[in-house]
Assembly symmetry: C2
Homo-oligomer: 378 residues x 2
């Protein structure tokens, strides 16, 4: 039984990519899928209805942030995260591990867990695997993540190896602490730095623990993309075919394509929403910085090929004006557009898998969208 | 002919308030009405569709701001303000007079016009009645306002008198400069400070100029409300019955009611949207500051009697969280709520006029909504 079930519909004959369905307590997700990030129980600038309109099937929210503010007990009192934020489709929460290691101050790691200071008010906190799961149980997401140590890049072999085994021990403790297995699926996270034997060892040990799904963690943290793809090549094919695979923190169009081709089903990243609020958008002709003066009198939509609300109703000139005038509607429109761009890309990817032509699709995408001309650096 | 036509449907037998319809090139407005303010070609945080959903029939935009940024010529190139901002219902633009006198630096008034420095970059500008109308013609709103001098409060009699006659001469020049009378209706503005004879003189002279509508200006600028109501008592009944009457800059529920009772048809104010972005909302129990700690675990809607999107879907606790976490959705929800509150109030006011019971309605409103207990100070 368990909270979720992954259904493999077909494998792309050309690329090996997987088309699937993930059944969750809040509905079915068509995979591969990109998950918009709603860090503080809101996808920045957007309503749930707007997310549905652009085709979002599942969103991610951040345990570290919600633990800090408003606190998981408040969310639990509100009836859980879905009800609190008015989102009735699936949610995934991370474990807080990544933020503890990247955002907080003065962290101190022991076998028991991590002591750190809040990035908001400097207050002291301790999170263990048990505590992380307790918080995630209170939040009530459909998919929750094990508490792991996120290594920096680069990281020396001995540290990576010791950390890996601790993360495996923490994973076991997470499984034992998890109290809501019928409504929340706990995913294990593959670590091991950029070392092949450690990644393989991580997969072997995690599979023994029989999680309902697996994430590949510790990537997209500053390493060259080639290295990320190499780690995926070593890792993903070893994971069980009947369970979903989630590549954490990846959201650039090229990396989504490369990840899917390597057998990944799920992705998340703040990139599309973060650059949107800064006035930068994805388009079918490459990156476009709509704040720039060259768009002051450009009355075309952000992307003439896009079907989103922003592109159907507003010009670059208007959106640029909104950014220059510091008007909130500007960030709303670019956020809708960037998320729609990625969700539409994933729709096209699923179609290409169905048609056994994902490698062709990738070449066409890179060619048409100016990828080979450097129009996609962020 | 002309651009607009006011149709008086009935007068409230109890209060004398007017129920009417204002026919404009972009549709019919049921009056009395409150107009949300979209200073920079956007009602802050909102889309046009959201404005329609809460029942907004007409919005106001500010000529001074649009002249400064992005410039009226750009808006004209975009096809006019309606098309630029994707709003197909009526728009009213002010003349820029109020902002020139309140926002800009180092203004210098002569018979010809006003020289001032931009509040954005300090650049020097000159606006005359002809220039103001030229800008408003380029923007293309359904209703445009004459360029006037807005007096400070208090203001001595001699200055107010001289200014009044200059504003009348400017009004004549505005009429002559107006190039688009079939698509844009130019309203005259009654000034005269807080002096009865000057207000009466202003009405007499403005009526001679035969504007298609009239505004009462120079109120809600810091004077006690009793004085504002007294000026309305002196002024409004002298205005032609067959033309719309607009009280500029008023948006608190009590002043809307008092204005309607004195024969006013149209109102605008930034109050509801400005306080919303600061976390303060109108409710049927008085003012509520949702940022306050007392709402941290309050899972009721902002106002249990409200039918808006925010109240139907979110709790005070969630909205408070959004404000504490500096999330844009918070300001979106409180803005929707406050505007809906005022638009619903005006719907109820129209119904009460229809039923000849607006004075009763006012008493009930003040009683029920805690007005007499000081719950409405902003």
């Amino acid at each position: 039984m368990g909270a979720i079930r992954y259904e493999l519909i077909k494998t792309c004959k050309q690329s090996g990519a997987r088309l699937g369905r993930l059944h969750t307590p809040h509905g079915v997700i068509e995979t591969p899928i990109f998950m918009p990030v709603g860090t503080q129980a809101t996808v920045k600038t957007m309503t749930p209805e707007e997310l549905k309109e652009i085709g979002a099937q599942i969103i991610l929210s951040n345990t570290y942030h919600l633990y800090m503010r408003p606190g998981e007990k408040l969310v639990e009192k509100a009836g859980g995260l879905h009800k609190f934020m008015n989102w009735d489709r699936p949610i995934l929460t991370d474990s807080g591990g990544f933020q503890v290691f990247s955002l907080s101050q003065l962290r101190d790691i022991t076998e028991e867990g991590v002591t750190f200071r809040s990035h908001i008010d400097g207050s002291k906190h301790f999170i263990s695997p048990e505590k992380a799961i307790e918080i995630e149980n209170a939040l009530g997401a459909d998919i929750i993540m094990a508490f792991d140590e996120c290594l920096p890049y680069p990281c020396d072999y001995d540290y990576a190896k010791n950390s890996l085994y601790r993360t495996i021990r923490w994973a076991e403790r997470c499984l034992k602490a998890h109290k809501n297995t019928e409504k929340q699926a706990l995913f294990g996270i593959i670590q091991g730095g950029m070392y092949r034997d450690l990644r393989e060892e991580s997969v072997r040990e995690m599979i023994k623990l029989d999680f309902p799904g697996y994430a590949v963690g510790g990537l997209s943290i500053g390493e060259p993309k080639d290295i990320m793809y190499e780690v995926l090549d070593w890792t993903v094919h070893l994971l069980p075919e009947n369970k979903p695979r989630y590549l954490m923190g990846v959201g650039s169009p090229d990396a989504l394509l490369e990840g899917v081709i390597r057998g990944v089903d799920m992705f998340d990243c703040v990139l599309p929403t973060r650059i949107a609020r800064n006035g930068t958008v994805f388009t079918s002709k490459g990156k476009l910085v709509v704040r720039n003066a060259e768009y002051a009198e450009d009355f075309r939509p952000l992307d003439e090929e896009c079907d989103c609300y922003a592109c159907k109703n507003y010009s670059r000139a208007y959106i640029r004006h909104l950014f220059k005038a510091k008007e909130i509607l500007g960030a709303r429109l670019t956020t809708i557009h960037n998320l729609r761009f990625l969700l539409k890309l994933m729709e096209d990817v699923r179609q290409a898998i169905m048609e056994d032509r994902l490698l062709d699709f990738k070449e066409e995408f890179f060619e048409k969208y100016g990828y080979n001309e450097g129009k996609w650096t962020f």
